[in-house]
């Protein structure tokens, strides 16, 4: 089902590293295993016989539904990572993300206040980092995850230099 993307036309998007899928898988596994495990407790108890009054169908349905949702999210992860993109234009930076809920963000260089680079443990393990841009507005969630470390450093220096050159106050 190929539908039209909302990006402005004529932009060549740079994609993030495919190794970022590993990072997302790690956090997916952590969150979902924990939740599904928690929801399996009633099932174990009912099968054991310790908790008679709980209906069996409910004890089976709860973890089953969570498992189905988790698998659905698992299938989406590679596509989501492929959908993350960024492009440096003359006067602003564009960041896009999302398949179902798409978002294209335009941040002018002159409005950038500071640039942050962070890397969690899994990201560091595969040699990636996350770049965050801050403007005066808290609603600007300008974040490019999954950048190779060298590219992240280059981008940070470039953005800082351009921001400095076009500094426009508040």
């Amino acid at each position: 089902m190929r539908t039209e993307a909302i990006d402005p036309p004529g932009i060549t998007w740079l994609r993030v590293s495919p190794k970022y899928v590993t990072v997302r898988l790690a956090s997916w596994a952590l969150a979902n295993l924990f939740v599904v495990g928690l929801l399996c407790i009633p099932l174990v108890l009912v099968l054991n016989g310790t908790w008679q009054t709980f209906p069996l169908w409910l004890a089976v349905a709860l973890p089953a539904v969570m498992l189905v949702l988790a698998l659905w999210r698992l299938l989406l992860i590679p596509r989501q990572v492929r959908a993350i993109g960024y492009a440096e234009r003359e006067d602003d930076l564009l960041i896009r993300r999302g398949i179902f809920f798409q978002r294209t963000l335009v941040v002018p260089y002159g409005r950038m206040q500071y640039v942050d680079i962070g890397a969690g443990p899994v990201e560091r393990g595969v040699g990636l980092c996350t770049l965050k841009l801050h403007t005066a507005s808290a609603g600007t969630n300008a974040e490019i995850p999954g950048l190779p470390a060298a590219e992240g450093a280059r981008l940070r220096e470039q953005l800082s230099a351009r921001g400095e050159a076009r500094l426009a106050g508040l």
């Binding site: 539908t3 006067d91 602003d92 809920f101 294209t104 963000l105 206040q113 609603g139 106050g169 508040l170």
Partner: protein, 528 residues
């Protein structure tokens, strides 16, 4: 509202104080701020004794005879320590205005030194709580947009000292260079012209017709009905906290909105309001990040509107909190009042027909069947003036009318030379105005349902505040075109504003004649 005369301003400050001396706040300040603590300690320890003294009985209770002196002694020592703490905190609090910075040093155990750039000043308020007002003191609060530091408070100064300091800060922030021959000359306070006042009758009427009254009355009716129907008296008890809450909220609103007066001066927009606690706000030119004109359905009967603004540092407005009164540019006003305030905020509307466009923004409705020319690109639609009565607003395309059955003819945008106007709402009417110079970043967002109809939302990011500019469900092509066009306009507007000192933009242009520079000079001539 008489303009503050220059002699009064110079008499207040010491003309011999060179720019840069370290000054102290008024000695009574910590007591004015902390009288509650002192009163609480005194009450806790001495209430018993005081009551006995009034009754004429023995001063100390026989049962506590052994311990009573210790209790009184303890209370006295605590009071003394608190008083000494207050005196010390006063002694170690000093401030200085020099070289484009304002510095404040506080604290004797844990020292704190704050420094804020004057040309980043976003707004200055003079606040007078009731007790301070009785003693002729005032608190000076200003917001500085210096990454990290935001609010700076100086409590309490004498009223004329506070006014003088405000004038000095605004003069420095505007770019007035102190005369090198007279380094100590105090800056004269800029004259002001009153523009509008909100009569108390209108304020009370607006409260009675506000959304919270409707909710409370509905709740009261429901509780009465439930009580009658179920024969259960306890439902009446819901009325008590409801009425108390309503009275408290009304009192708060009246206290903050009473005698609201707006004036224009070279320093910016001046707002004065308050019944017991008065406040005087100054918003220098160009510090308003976004503005929203809104009208709840009940106010439409009387034709009243409300204006709220985003100013960097004021933060998101709570409900009836202090932040909500500071971000209110007009608590209740008629349509001519709205146009007046808009002309103060946007002295150059960027269009030859501002009244028609703003009226369409607040009250307009696109035709249900689009005229020829609707659905084309944004610039062509505006150029052709499609929706002739609609002021050129580009609204949601007809194919997406199911997404917002009531509002699709209202949700739309138009761009003038200096600002982007976004309107929405059929029942609760809103018009959001974002000047091009104040655009931060933008995002085009689309969920799966909107993709089915090929529409998208455009969100403009701005500083924290009650206004969130969001263009709802615009056609995909128009949205993309607007994203590009708005980025271009914002860039051009940023280039035109070369410095934060607003007076700097006027002086070199006084001799300029070119047409392109006129919008700038027109904007700044009105603001000085």
């Amino acid at each position: 509202m008489k303009p503050d005369a220059a002699p009064e301003a110079t008499a207040g400050a010491d003309p011999g104080t060179p720019d840069g001396a370290w000054l102290r706040v008024h000695p009574a300040s910590p007591f004015v701020r902390g009288w509650v603590a002192l009163a609480a300690i005194a009450f806790f320890f001495f209430r018993d004794t005081f009551e006995r003294m009034l009754q004429g009985g023995p001063l100390v209770d026989e049962q506590l005879a052994g311990r009573a002196p210790w209790l009184l002694l303890g209370g006295g020592v605590l009071l003394l320590l608190t008083g000494v703490g207050y005196v010390l905190s006063w002694y170690f609090t000093r401030y200085q205005v020099a070289e484009g910075y304002v510095r404040i040093n506080t604290g004797f155990l844990f020292k704190q030194q704050r420094q804020a750039r004057l040309d980043r000043v976003q707004a200055i308020d003079i606040v007078q709580p009731l007790l301070a007002r009785m003693f002729g003191l005032a608190e000076l609060k200003f917001e500085v947009a210096d990454a990290g530091e935001s609010a700076v408070r100086l409590a309490y100064l004498r009223m004329d000292e506070a006014r003088q300091l405000r004038a000095t800060i605004l003069a420095r922030a505007a770019g007035v260079v102190p005369d090198p021959g007279q380094p100590g000359a105090a800056a004269a306070e800029a004259p002001e012209h009153a523009v509008l006042t909100v009569p108390p009758g209108r304020l009370i009427g607006s409260l009675l017709l506000s959304e919270q009254s409707v909710v409370v009355i509905a709740g009261a009716l429901a509780s009465v009905l439930l009580s009658a129907v179920t024969e259960n008296r306890s439902f009446y008890l819901i009325l008590i906290p409801a009425v108390l809450g309503m009275v408290a909220a009304y009192w708060n609103a009246i206290n903050r909105g009473y005698n609201f007066t707006a004036a224009i001066s070279p320093d910016g927009i001046r707002l004065r309001y308050g019944l017991l606690d008065t406040q005087a706000q100054t918003l220098p030119p160009g510090r308003i990040q976004a503005l929203r004109v809104s009208q709840p359905p009940l106010w439409r009967i009387l034709g009243w509107y409300r204006i709220q603004v985003n100013v960097a540092g004021y933060g998101a407005a709570g409900n009836n909190g202090e932040a909500s009164s500071r971000t209110t540019l007009l608590p209740v006003g008629t349509f001519p009042d709205v146009l007046t305030m808009l002309s103060l905020v946007l002295p150059d509307p960027g269009t030859p027909e501002p009244v028609r466009i703003f009226t369409a923004g607040v009250n307009g409705l696109a035709p249900a069947v689009p005229l020829q020319g609707q659905g084309k690109g944004e610039s062509e639609a505006v150029a052709e003036g499609s929706g002739a009565d609609d002021g050129g607003f580009v609204t949601t395309p007809r194919r997406a009318r199911l997404l917002a059955p009531l509002g699709w003819r209202r949700n739309g945008f138009t761009a003038t030379g200096t600002a982007l106007l976004i309107r929405s709402g059929r029942w609760w009417r809103h018009l959001v105005v974002v000047p091009h110079q104040r655009t931060q970043s933008m995002a085009l967002e689309q969920g799966p349902l909107a993709r089915r109809f090929r529409v998208a939302d455009l969100v403009l990011h701005t500083t924290a505040g009650p206004v969130s500019p969001r263009l709802i469900q615009t056609g995909l092509d128009e949205g993309r075109a607007l994203l590009d066009a708005q980025a271009t306009r914002a860039r051009a507007a940023r280039k035109r504003q070369t410095s934060e000192h607003w007076l700097d933009q006027v002086r070199p242009l006084v001799a300029g004649d070119s047409r392109t520079e006129e919008p700038n000079s027109q904007e700044d001539r009105q603001h000085g």
